[in-house]
Amino acid sequence: MSKVWKYGDDVNTDMLFPGKYTYSCSKAEQILPHLLEDLDPQFASEVRPGDVVMAGKNFGCGSSREQPALGLRAAGIEAVVAKSFARIFFRAAINQGLLLVECPEAVDAFRAGDTVGLDPAAGTITVGGKGFSFPSLPEEILAIRRAGGLLPYARAKLRSRR
């Protein structure tokens, strides 16, 4: 069964991926061992594909480094569910194809041991049996996600212009 990793408000990029590794680790296999190192030392070794990260407001604030979004995507995180996201992390997640769900009610409803179910297409999330809805993303952003991230999207655009 997938696990829910629950954290508080203002989880910043240094907690998600310490700045000291920023210029020595850029690939998924280099990032994964240090993911959330200063926030939750268990995370890197115990995270499994399909797990969900849940947090309070302003998740991903701080640096523009993309290792947190890239790392969470590579770890197989199904979605990050938070009360709100910091703007550069929000962009980075879209550009990596990582699903973000902004739903304060779902975060408030979560109790330890609750299971979380997601239906991104319908914009619904269930927490411990209770259902909530979240607003879907604008079409331009969904197109980037459909393409598999910003780079595949950009390549397709360049080829279509030829």
Binding site: M15, P18, Y23, S26, S64, I88, R91, N95, R155
Partner: protein, 422 residues
């Protein structure tokens, strides 16, 4: 209804008459900045570069500053790969190690100008709002796509209006002002939004405005901007940017804002951001006497000539406390030269300071003054996150150059007004 700065500028860059907050627009930025992360950005598109080439070699500005000069073999290989990229693709806006911190270089070399749209693969890109540019941070993948296509998407932000009235008191600086604003707004108080500073901005120097715009991201802002005035025009002229090379843009008087705030500058006092969050702001009195191991004076936030001159006026003829260290980190070579000519740097060295090469230094914990467990640092930089300057068990306090200089004399946090009054 009138338009905000962001609405006007993004409409212009998107080639539209009108854009509204929440709308997604496709824009072609005037410049794209990257630094030591350039190799990682270029590596993602190695095959694509061979296939498509670069959209525009003049778009990309590359500055080596984060680990400058290289500290390990790995850093050296990274810098080498970046130098090969700029040579191969004809990137003419390239500044090698020792020139300074990328954000200072963008302004100092006239690469960020009024009315420009600049994106950078670094969160403190928002600094160029000080000279009337819309400047915002992006991630590496987005920078990669920009090199290939020259365009990206932006959501038109809502805007926040901050009215500044009056003049700051002696010993109180623009750093205290912006930390006060961030403390009240909270670390996400301006998330996704553009912060416009209005009012008596003529009382703030360009250096003051650079410090403030630099920290816009610490309240989540997408951009933080000042109106272009006589001071901006004079500053740019001195930097070799002719008046006819840019078109200032500013908000209409009847523009619509998500919120408005007013600050009476004379009522402000020195403040400190305590570990481990930038919005954890308290009056300096509350933390006075906290012992400090390392002082950092400089960085892209407060590493300009006026910052060193202010610190030198406090440390002249004095010594830093025994058992402490004072790191001096000018934001650029040009600033270092200025502070050498003015004598400020000599004063700070005589007081016991240690000069670091212009660049990011210990600010992000990569080299040149990282902290050990249990150590405390008082810094003029912009971020005090856990683990930022090395060990996660170290503590970082943020303050103004005046507070750092005064505190260095005592070896503990001290109200700078006491030292100025002496």
């Amino acid at each position: 209804m009138g338009k905000t700065f962001a609405e006007k500028l993004l409409a212009l860059k998107a080639g539209k008459n009108d854009v509204r907050p929440g709308e997604i627009v496709t824009v072609r930025p005037d410049h794209l900045l990257s630094h030591d992360n350039t190799a990682a950005i270029v590596e993602k598109i190695a095959g694509d570069l061979a296939e498509f080439g670069v959209a525009n070699p003049d778009l990309h500005v590359v500055v080596l500053d984060h680990v400058a000069p290289a500290s390990t073999e790995k850093d050296a290989e990274n810098h080498k790969a970046i130098r090969q990229y700029v040579a191969r693709y004809g990137v003419k806006h390239f500044f090698d190690v020792g020139t300074g911190v990328c954000h200072q270089i963008m302004v100092e070399k006239g690469l960020a100008r009024p009315g420009m749209l600049v994106v950078g693969s670094d969160s403190h890109t928002c600094m160029y709002g000080a000279v009337g540019a819309f400047a915002t941070g992006i991630d590496r993948t987005e920078a990669s796509a920009l090199i290939l296509t020259g365009e990206t998407w932006l959501r038109v932000p809502e805007s926040i209006r901050i009215e500044l009235r009056g003049v700051l008191s002696p010993g109180v600086t623009a750093k205290d002002l912006i930390l006060t604003v961030i403390g009240q707004m909270g670390s996400d108080g301006a998330n996704y939004q553009c912060v416009e500073f209005h009012g008596d901005i003529a009382n703030l120097t360009i250096d003051d405005r650079l410090t403030m715009a630099n920290m816009g991201i610490e309240m989540g802002a997408k951009a933080a901007v000042f109106e272009v005035d006589a001071r901006t025009i004079g500053y740019l002229k001195a930097a070799g940017v002719p008046r006819d090379s840019y078109q200032p843009i500013w908000a209409d008087a009847d523009a619509s804002y998500s919120q408005s705030r007013t600050y009476e500058l004379a009522k402000l006092s020195p403040v400190v951001a305590k570990p481990h969050k930038v919005d954890n702001v308290v009056p300096v009195e509350e933390v006075a006497g906290t012992p400090i191991d390392q002082f950092v004076l400089g960085t892209c936030t407060n590493g300009r000539a006026s910052d060193f001159e202010l610190a030198a006026s406090i440390l002249r003829g004095k010594r830093i406390a025994a058992g402490t260290r004072l790191l001096l980190l000018p934001a650029s070579r040009e600033i270092l030269t200025q502070t050498m000519a003015s004598g400020a740097m000599a004063t700070l060295l005589e007081a016991g300071g240690m000069l670091l090469p212009p660049g990011c230094g210990p600010c992000l914990g990569a080299h040149l003054g990282v902290l050990a467990g249990g150590e405390r640092c008082l810094s003029t930089s912009n971020r005090n996150f856990k683990g930022r300057m090395g060990c996660a068990k170290a503590e970082i306090f943020l303050a103004s150059p005046a507070t750092v200089a005064a505190s260095a004399i005592h070896g503990s946090i001290c109200d700078p007004r006491k030292e100025i009054a002496r």
